[in-house]
């Protein structure tokens, strides 16, 4: 995920300082890993260096002085370009589950048992995400991010179900031979 573009997007709402940007990021993307403060400030400095953001001034508000940043016209254009850019569909399978099944077959292990256990772990996580998104009054960002995770876990599950069925067929063929 492009932290610089997400910060640019948050700056579109108006000037803001690093602390506030971190807080709004974590609210908007509740299922994502929270941003580290250091990452926020480093990214803001790079945006300024690249002419995509600039320092608006400082804001003390009774506490320590904070630097306010705002997006530039160049920043707005870059954000529009990035937001419309197609994310490449995953070109290859680099999935730990897939790798473990293959290795298990190669090593004469028990891939079916592994798939059952992995499936149970996926279902447990899907139950947690479903509970999060169906809490009455859950905000849209929470629902959307839970939906995103649920659909990806579901895709894994479908692959696991098909693979488990294929393993059964394979075992039957081997037994019959």
């Amino acid at each position: 995920m492009s932290t610089r573009h997400i910060l640019l997007g948050l700056l579109e709402a108006g000037p803001s300082h690093g602390y506030d940007l971190k807080r709004r990021h974590d609210e908007r993307f509740p299922q994502a890993r929270p941003l580290a403060y250091g990452q926020v400030y480093t990214t803001l400095q790079r945006l300024v260096r690249d002419g995509l953001a600039e320092v608006e001034g400082t804001d003390a508000d009774g506490g320590p002085e904070r630097t306010l940043y705002r997006s530039t016209d160049g920043g707005a254009r870059e954000l529009t370009r990035w937001a419309g850019e197609i994310a490449p569909p995953a070109p290859f399978v680099a999935n730990e589950i897939f790798a473990k099944v293959v290795v298990s077959i190669l090593a004469g292990g028990d891939p079916a048992a592994y798939l059952r256990t992995q499936r149970a772990a996926h279902m447990e996580r899907m139950r947690e995400l479903t509970a999060v998104k169906t809490v009455p009054g859950a905000d849209l960002a929470t629902v959307l991010s839970a939906d995103y995770a649920l659909n990806h876990l579901d895709a894994d599950l479908r692959w696991m179900n098909t693979t488990a069925a294929r393993l059964t067929t394979l075992t039957a063929e081997v037994d019959a031979a």
């Binding site: 048992a113 059952r116 279902m123």
Partner: protein, 232 residues
């Protein structure tokens, strides 16, 4: 199936159930338990015996072997008349296609089981309206099932299944004909209402995202309960 350390007596249990359709054995020794107020998903591939299991547990068909126990009594040994009464008083059923009566409005579809349970028509219609509202079917009380969207008709079917205060709702692929948003609305309505009223739900589905609304999952494979994987 593991009882997960819960020593409470299950509300509904099938033990070593066997059921054949002709030469095909749909169930080959399946055992499952449903506790009071629990939402249990039964999943599995097509032909794994999910619907046959539901039919046996709901007393719609009798197993060839094994036992079905409901509230401490053998359901599979009840005479047909008593079984029929029990299904009406304690069970609600929803199928993939809601099976609402096409000639009746949504309101009258929900009022019907209430009237069969002894309510006067006017009272039944008031209560039916409240149930439809609870399931988010507003302003459509006067429509017939064919005039409603699939999601709205299915929510009306759920309202009908829950209106009589059943202890168990059997739902066989209740979202099977719906798109993902309508499916979510139906499942949210079902789960919230079941939790509020303490109704147990036996939910048959092939969809993991639907199964994720349940407290627990039992997976069928070739007519038996597949060994459970234990999440780390």
């Amino acid at each position: 199936m593991s009882n997960q350390g819960d020593s409470s007596v299950p509300l509904l249990a099938g033990r070593d159930l066997v059921k054949a359709h002709g030469r095909t054995e749909a169930l080959r020794g399946a055992s499952v338990e449903l506790r009071v107020g629990e939402i249990l998903a039964v999943t599995g591939a097509s032909g794994s015996g999910k619907s046959t299991l539901l039919h046996c547990l709901a007393g719609i068909v009798r197993p060839d072997a094994g036992a079905v126990t409901y509230d401490g009594s053998r359901l599979d040994q009840l005479p047909e008349r008593r079984l029929s009464e029990l299904r009406r008083s304690d069970f609600g059923v929803v199928f993939q296609f809601g099976q609402l009566i096409p000639e009746l409005t949504a309101l009258d579809n929900v009022a019907l089981p209430l009237m069969l349970a002894g309510a006067a028509r006017a009272e039944a219609r008031v209560r039916a309206g409240a149930w439809l509202e609870r399931f988010g079917v507003r302003g459509q009380e006067g429509l017939r099932p064919g005039e409603m969207s699939g999601g709205q008709a299915q929510r009306a079917a759920l309202a009908r299944a829950l209106a009589t205060g059943p202890k168990v709702v059997f739902a066989d692929e209740p979202t099977g004909a719906l798109d993902s948003l309508a499916s979510e609305q139906v499942m949210t309505s079902l789960v919230h209402t079941a939790r509020e009223s303490g109704t147990a739900v036996l939910l048959i589905t092939h969809d993991a995202q639907v199964a994720a609304y349940a407290d627990r999952e039992v997976r069928l494979s070739d007519g038996t309960v597949a060994p459970a994987g234990v999440a780390a």
